[in-house]
């Protein structure tokens, strides 16, 4: 059983970018079962920019599932952004999930934007000024929604999709000082509390591709500036060759197209 997942985040579309991704996206049918978009689909979160996303990522011949990012909230037009994406057939997750029937089995995808907060031992606490408490409660509420969504799905293979990072591993390359604005450990905790096979996120443009949660779940940063291609493709399956995986180096993937 193999489920093929294509993913990218942080594409930041506007009129000046429309058409750049499309030639690569046209190759998706036959190469992937689904395309996951890890937030920051637009520059400022306007309805007009969302329509650019819809033109670029709509009608691909594979299901497209997205979460929003912080840029997609900038102009306070989230309902219009979501509406434009959904009109194009793109599913937008925020604290919920979907199950897709793929040739290799049922793929469950639970998604949430997530939020910052920092990582174990170096994180913000729900204490002090109302503004700080509101910040941390936003973090924990988002992680709680992801946890509930992950545990609600009946599927063969479970994937968590967020914009903010669930582990610090995939932030390597970013300044340490901004880690609390790039992700939080609570997302990792939610991912570890469910039988998650893979966690995908974006947001950290200077981060690195690979990481793992404390519970052993593989994490991949698919931010476009990190992967430097239109999307990455992951094969999830229980019969794949472990030796091939352990041969993966820090710099890249190992399996050419067959």
């Amino acid at each position: 059983m193999v489920i093929r997942i294509a993913a990218v985040g942080d594409v930041h579309l506007d009129e000046d970018v429309v058409g750049r991704f499309r030639p690569a996206l046209e190759e998706l049918p036959g190469r992937a079962d689904v395309l996951l978009l890890a937030g920051d689909l637009t520059r400022h979160g306007t309805e007009a920019e969302a329509r650019c996303v819809a033109r670029e990522f709509g009608g691909l011949g594979v299901p497209v599932i997205a979460v929003l990012g912080n840029h997609d909230h900038q102009c306070d037009q989230v309902p219009q952004v979501v509406g434009a994406l959904e009109e194009a057939g793109i599913t937008v997750l925020e604290g919920d999930g979907v199950v897709l029937d793929c040739a290799g089995g049922r793929l469950g995808v639970a998604g949430v934007k997530g939020f910052g907060g920092g990582f174990a031992g170096r994180c913000a606490s729900d204490f002090g000024e109302p503004e700080m408490k509101a910040f941390v409660r936003t973090t924990t509420e988002s992680a709680d929604r992801l946890s509930a969504a992950l545990r609600s799905l009946d599927c063969d293979m479970l994937v968590a999709l967020t914009h903010y990072a669930p582990v610090p591993d995939t932030l390597a390359g970013e300044p340490l000082e901004i880690y609390p604005f790039l992700g939080c450990y609570q997302l990792g905790q939610a991912i570890d509390a469910a039988p998650t096979a893979l966690a995908l996120h974006g947001h950290a443009h200077h981060g690195s591709e690979r990481g793992v949660t404390p519970g052993g779940v593989r994490v991949r940063n698919v931010a476009h500036p990190v992967i430097k291609q239109a999307y990455s493709i992951f094969y999830l399956g229980d019969h794949l060759d472990q030796a091939q995986v352990s041969s993966v180096g820090a710099g890249g993937t190992q399996q050419p197209w067959s």
Partner: protein
């Protein structure tokens, strides 16, 4: 002893760097959070990657417009969008 700034010397470099960072994010014409500003002996260099050549040019134009007396170099690239030629298997 307290050190005082020379009123005619302009803002310290760190404040300029902070202002450029905020300009890059908060200016609606830019809205980039992934640009690094590096101070060198010859001025400032901007590093990073953006989604279009137009955005790369606009960043330099905006920063140069805000700090006309500051030597600024741009080493910003446009991110490639080719289809992947490899996959990653995750058992």
């Amino acid at each position: 002893m307290t050190a005082h700034l020379d009123p005619g010397a302009g803002p310290p470099d760190e404040y300029v760097e902070a202002e450029i960072h905020r300009l890059l994010t908060e200016d609606p014409a830019v809205a980039e959070q992934g640009i690094t500003v590096v101070r060198t002996e010859r001025g400032l260099t901007l590093y990073g990657e953006v989604e279009s050549a137009h955005r790369r040019d606009e960043i330099l134009r905006r920063v140069a417009g805000r700090f006309p007396d500051l030597p600024i170099t741009s080493d910003i690239g446009v991110i490639r969008t080719q289809a992947p030629t490899e996959i990653e298997q995750l058992p």
